[in-house]
């Protein structure tokens, strides 16, 4: 089991200029912000289930950039159909990283379906995203970095994480319009 926050920070260390990072509702956004403020980040604080289709729209609109989505198992389970949509409208520049702690940690650590019988890697593969794999320890760091920056996507990586509450690290603004305008400006490079 991986300690998610330092691992997210490690993935984003020395990030390249062509990377745009989106995070899904909840702990994923606090994890992303813990890696340091960056105008190329956009973190969801609501609209559960929407980060995956959002990342697809962004990746389609910016084919020369690499798009990385960090999201949780809860957010992903709410939008399983969007994985089928991505598989059938593929984008080569999109990597989805599911930080799978098998629980709704922010609401009291109720177990999600992945704590039971559900396997998101198999769902991705069955949906048609062939480049899907599960990571259980940090030895796979280089493989992940290759997927994020080099491999032809779409890709979905399930990172099995410890289920523990972590400090909330807030984004630059809670005002979505501020976050969006700031993020959008970085597309003009």
């Amino acid at each position: 089991m991986i300690d998610r926050r330092p691992f997210v920070q490690k993935i984003l260390k020395d990030r390249k200029d062509n990377l745009r990072v989106v995070s899904g509702i909840g702990t994923s956004t606090w994890d992303l912000m813990s890696a340091g403020d960056n105008k190329g980040n956009f973190g969801f604080i609501g609209a559960m289930g929407q980060s995956i289709p959002f990342a697809l729209g962004l990746a389609k609109a910016q084919p020369d950039m690499r798009v990385l989505l960090f999201t949780g198992d809860g957010d992903t389970l709410m939008s399983l159909g969007s994985i089928a949509t991505i598989a059938n409208h593929p984008v080569s520049n999109l990597t989805i990283v599911v930080l799978d702690n098998e629980s709704y940690v922010e609401t009291g650590s109720q177990p999600t379906a992945t704590a039971g019988k559900t396997d998101l890697e198999l769902i991705a593969k069955g949906s048609g995203i062939s480049n899907s794999y599960t990571v259980r320890n940090e030895d796979d760091y280089s493989k992940i970095m290759n997927t994020v920056y080099e491999e032809e996507g779409p890709s979905l990586i399930v990172i099995k994480c410890q289920a523990k509450a972590t400090p909330l690290i807030f984004p630059h603004s809670f005002d979505g319009s501020v976050s969006m305008n700031r993020f959008k400006e970085t597309m003009k490079i």
Partner: protein, 175 residues
């Protein structure tokens, strides 16, 4: 079925081209089919078939972040699926445009279509969506143009309800 193919879909397509809408997502409805076909034949427009309408909200918003304009096509039954997702364009001031083909309001055969048909304008307005409506073929182009400009010029959400009176009620025969 050919008698149902009216010019108003061409008018919507012309607005898409005029305003630079290059991504169109949908859960299909027969009323939108001629428009979907026009968009699929156009190499400048990406057509994305969704599994649920709410994903079209996120898709449109991500496309906007990346600098592209889009529209979501759906039947009135899909509007209810989008409610919480509509918080995203609202709070982020993202222009969002949807065109809704109405069921359950004019000569409807299927009772199951009535609840969401009745609820559609109320649900959209409850989520602060500016609701436009086209009842006649002649007003479709100007109405979609006005709704799209409202959305893209003021960074807000707009919906055009395309009435069942204009689309024509689907009739079912048993056996």
């Amino acid at each position: 079925m050919t008698e149902l193919i009216k010019d108003w879909r061409n008018d919507i397509y012309a607005v898409f081209k005029d305003l630079g809408i290059t991504m169109v997502s949908h859960v299909p409805d027969a009323g939108h089919t001629p428009l979907i076909n026009l968009c699929e034949k156009d190499n400048e427009i990406d057509v994305v078939t969704l599994t649920t309408e709410q994903d079209g909200v996120g898709l449109s918003c991500g496309a906007y972040a990346g600098g592209r304009k889009s529209a979501l096509l759906m039947q009135s039954s899909g509007v209810g699926n989008c409610i919480n997702a509509l918080a995203l364009p609202n709070i982020c001031r993202i222009p969002f445009l949807t065109l809704v083909s109405m069921r359950g309001e004019w000569g409807e055969f299927v009772p199951w279509q009535v609840p969401m048909g009745l609820g559609t304008p109320k649900v959209l307005e409850a989520m602060d969506i500016k609701v436009f409506r086209a009842d006649y073929e002649e007003e479709v182009g100007s109405t979609v143009d006005a709704a799209a400009k409202f959305a893209f010029n003021t960074n807000r959400s707009a919906a055009v309800l395309l009435s069942q009176k204009m689309i024509g009620a689907k009739q079912f025969k048993n056996g």
